[in-house]
């Protein structure tokens, strides 16, 4: 994870049918932890949502062969069940629960040491890539994290 660059996913572990599993290590050091919180550094819940959203985004791009870019549409039922501290290894799982026309819905969860620490239903609007640079950057990131089909 590189929190300051919103780079939340380190590596794809598996991609099967409608489900992706990725891993991410929370950095030991980050300016984020200086403010959140002094003396009690924990990963902000909003960044856990972003981590689940990016995981779902990679899933959807893998499923549609990079035909469309997923943009965050809605976050429902987000729950944060435990503190996530610097250095924690996270496993993030996202499953496409609904394949709509121009949108998709995912069920996502984050686990640490086999225990669920966050989950949410996250919906995406699917649109053509608005810029060639963005598509190129996303394809580059897909290679970086080892997204099957884009390694």
């Amino acid at each position: 994870m590189r929190l300051e660059y919103f780079q939340m996913v380190d590596r794809v572990v598996s991609l099967e049918a409608d489900t992706i599993t990725v891993s991410s290590q929370v950095p030991e050091q980050s300016p984020v932890f200086e403010g959140h919180f002094p003396g009690h550094p924990i990963l902000p819940g909003v960044l856990m949502v972003e981590t689940m959203a990016q995981t779902g985004g990679w899933l959807l791009m893998a499923l549609n062969g990079f035909a469309q870019m997923p943009f965050l549409l809605k976050v429902s039922e987000a729950k944060f069940r435990g503190f996530v501290t610097p250095g924690t290894e996270l496993t993030v799982i996202s499953r496409r629960s609904h394949d709509g026309s121009g949108f998709a819905v995912t069920e996502a969860r984050i686990e640490a040491a086999g225990k669920r620490v966050a989950d949410a239903e996250i919906s995406f609007r699917l649109l053509p890539f608005p810029a060639a640079d963005l598509e190129a950057a996303m394809r580059g990131n897909a290679r970086r994290i080892g997204l099957p089909g884009f390694c």
Binding site: L73, K74, H98, D99, G100, S101, G102, F103, V105, S123, R125
Partner: protein
């Protein structure tokens, strides 16, 4: 007299937006008259997909309208929308 499909769709719209149920008539345009925004509309489509076990082809409809191949009313006036949904449900049954 409205159809059961119309009534179900109208209920879904009322549940997923701030539009009062009584305003949702067969003549109402989903966007122009009811003021449904794009987020609420996709929520409504999601609920319709689930309720009827179909995939409402919003992208194809929008492309037809934007290309001038179909009037927006054909898909986005409530009575016509209900009819399109009934056709999709019927097509699913024969597929």
């Amino acid at each position: 007299m409205t159809s059961p499909v119309f009534d179900r769709i109208a209920d879904i719209i009322a549940e997923n937006s701030e539009v009062p149920r009584e305003k949702i008539t067969p003549e109402a345009h989903v966007i122009n008259d009811l003021g449904i925004d794009s987020l609420d509309f996709l929520d409504i489509v999601f609920a319709i997909d689930k309720a009827f076990g179909i995939k409402v082809p919003v992208e194809a409809w929008t492309q037809e309208v934007n290309a001038g191949k179909a009037p927006a009313e054909q898909y986005f006036v409530m009575g016509n929308l209900a009819q399109r949904i009934e056709e999709l449900v019927a097509a699913k049954g024969t597929a």
